[in-house]
């Protein structure tokens, strides 16, 4: 049941009309909300989904992005190369080399799944959005262009105070600490040996 109307006060005739006039006049004195876009660039939030940039140095051609893409707009070509053994008598390794990486932005729906699934941090969101074309075919952007957009990717936003340490930093720190401990132990041993000789 709708709430009963509040007790009506004696209304001054025309007060509604005056209220309307006041609203428009007040709005006129306030700052407008118009964005003067081509003249003034918009201030985009840090996680804006403008375009997908490729950091191709990190790409291992695992094809996860292309397979997870809901509308199949990522095209990847690659070939295998053998890398000679690094140590004498070692085994030769094979390595994937990226030949083509293209995203068709006329199909892309900016869901960001490719970026989520990339296990090697090769795909990033960039806030760059001014890449309109007059021909739909030109919206398929190749790796050079995608790599160029990498320069427009902003730094990741700072962590909250008291947040958990990022995993990669934790791993790096652990390794560094282990190395340090090992070195200290060796140094101690050396010292002991030296003392024993005396």
């Amino acid at each position: 049941m709708p709430a009963s109307p509040p007790p009506s006060r004696p209304r001054i005739p025309g007060s509604g009309l005056a209220k309307g006039l006041a609203v428009t006049l007040r709005t006129m004195t306030r700052k407008t909300v118009t964005a003067q876009y081509p003249d003034v660039q918009p201030e985009l939030p840090p996680r804006s989904r403008g375009v997908i940039a490729l950091f191709e140095e990190n790409c291992t051609v695992c094809m996860l992005c292309a397979r997870e893409c809901p509308d199949w707009c990522i095209y990847i070509d690659s070939h295998k190369e053998t890398v000679p053994a690094t140590t004498p008598g070692g085994r030769e390794r094979s390595r994937n080399v990226l030949d083509r990486f293209a995203i068709d932005f006329s199909l892309c729906m900016y869901c960001g799944i490719c970026i989520e699934v990339c296990p090697f941090d090769a795909l990033f969101w960039s806030p760059e959005f001014e890449y309109a074309e007059t021909d739909i075919l030109e919206l398929t952007h190749e790796r050079d262009k995608l790599r160029e957009w990498m320069w427009t990717v902003p730094e990741p936003p700072a962590l909250d105070p008291g947040a958990e340490e990022p995993k990669e930093i934790a791993a790096a720190r652990k390794t560094a600490e282990k190395l340090e401990a090992q070195r200290a132990q060796e140094a101690q041993q050396n010292q002991k040996e030296a003392e024993g000789e005396e």
Binding site: L17, G20, L21, V23, T24, L25, T27, M28, R30, T32, V33, T34, Q36
Partner: protein, 322 residues
């Protein structure tokens, strides 16, 4: 020879005012309306805050094809914009802008009669356009215009008659000469009635039922393109200037001001007219369109009784002070 020069000069000045002021009002409307809606309005044309937007619009209209529909009554159709626009030019000739004979295009003894009669002719332009277009929406718009003219001409005349009674003359400069500051509260009801009825006669929102674009496209102007359409638009803005000028002269004391009435009378007239024009724009932005029956109701049950009451009040006060 000197007389000819004098007349020519006056006509040129009146014509210049007629061409410039409506554009100024139009530009002001662009900007004021935009800011009242939280927008910026035109920003590009002319470079500085889009000051030349209406010039650009004019150029655009001039480039467009002038189409006359096949079924239209050709001559009437083509004549209508002129009939809508020219009366306002004629009215402007008789509006005094400052004290003395030098500040009015032509002193007309029966000023109020002339002005109101000629303003009524302006509405005829819309009527002709609506009839001659051979289009049902245009016809509807034209008929609504006619209904509106009938309803609102009466309160307008009555309100003006009240001022004429107060001044004891129907000449516009004569009314201004007789003006005293206390006429302002005395004639305030008449002023409101006159202004509202004038708005309705100009078909300005919230009284724009005849051109209600969401239901009958653009009323009587539906079939018009190019320059003729631009003339109709210009007529609307010229109408605003004329209505505000007339309200200023009849009810707000024209060139009378708290100070400087001798040399700066015309500044007072222009200032008051500008403020009224702003109010016209303000009302347009604020209020939604009145329905056709609401329009008629407002005229017949509110404005006309108010105007009659004003006349009675004017008569009583006039008798009391004489």
């Amino acid at each position: 020879m000197n007389d000819v020069l004098d007349v020519a000069l006056r006509l040129v000045i009146v014509f210049a005012v007629f061409m410039v002021l409506p554009l100024v009002v139009g530009q002001t409307e662009h900007k004021v309306m935009a800011h009242m809606q939280g927008r910026l309005g035109p920003m590009y044309a002319g470079g500085f805050h889009g000051w030349a937007q209406l010039v650009a619009d004019g150029v655009k209209f001039a480039q467009k094809e002038d189409v006359v529909p096949a079924g239209a009554d050709r001559r009437i159709f083509q004549l209508a914009p002129a009939v809508a626009l020219l009366p306002y030019l004629l009215v402007l000739v008789a509006v005094p802008i400052g004290p003395g004979e030098g500040a009015v295009g032509q002193v007309v003894d029966a000023g109020i009669f002339f002005v109101l009669a000629v303003m009524g002719v302006g509405v005829l332009g819309s009527l002709m356009a609506g009839w001659a277009s051979a289009n049902k929406f245009s016809l509807l718009g034209g008929l609504r215009t006619a209904a509106q003219l009938l309803a609102y001409e009466l309160p307008m005349l009555l309100a003006a008659a009240s001022v004429a009674m107060a001044a004891g003359t129907v000449s516009l400069p004569g009314i201004l000469d007789a003006f005293e500051w206390w006429w302002l509260p005395w004639q305030i009801v008449g002023a409101l009635v006159f202004f509202v009825a004038g708005l309705a006669e100009l078909q300005r929102p919230p009284f724009d039922m005849p051109v209600a674009d969401s239901e009958i496209i653009f009323g009587a102007y539906t079939e018009y393109t190019g320059l003729r359409f631009a003339l109709f638009l210009l007529a609307e803005y010229a109408g605003i200037v004329v209505l505000c000028g007339l309200t200023t002269v009849l009810f707000l004391g024209g060139w009378h001001g708290p100070f400087g009435a001798d040399g700066l009378g015309w500044v007072w007239t222009l200032l008051k007219t500008a403020v009224l024009a702003f109010v016209v724009i303000w009302l347009r932005v604020t209020y939604p369109r009145l329905r056709e029956d609401q329009l008629q109701k407002l005229a017949w049950t509110t404005l006309i009784p108010l105007a009659l009451a004003q006349i009675a009040l004017t008569g009583i006060v006039k008798v009391a002070i004489s």
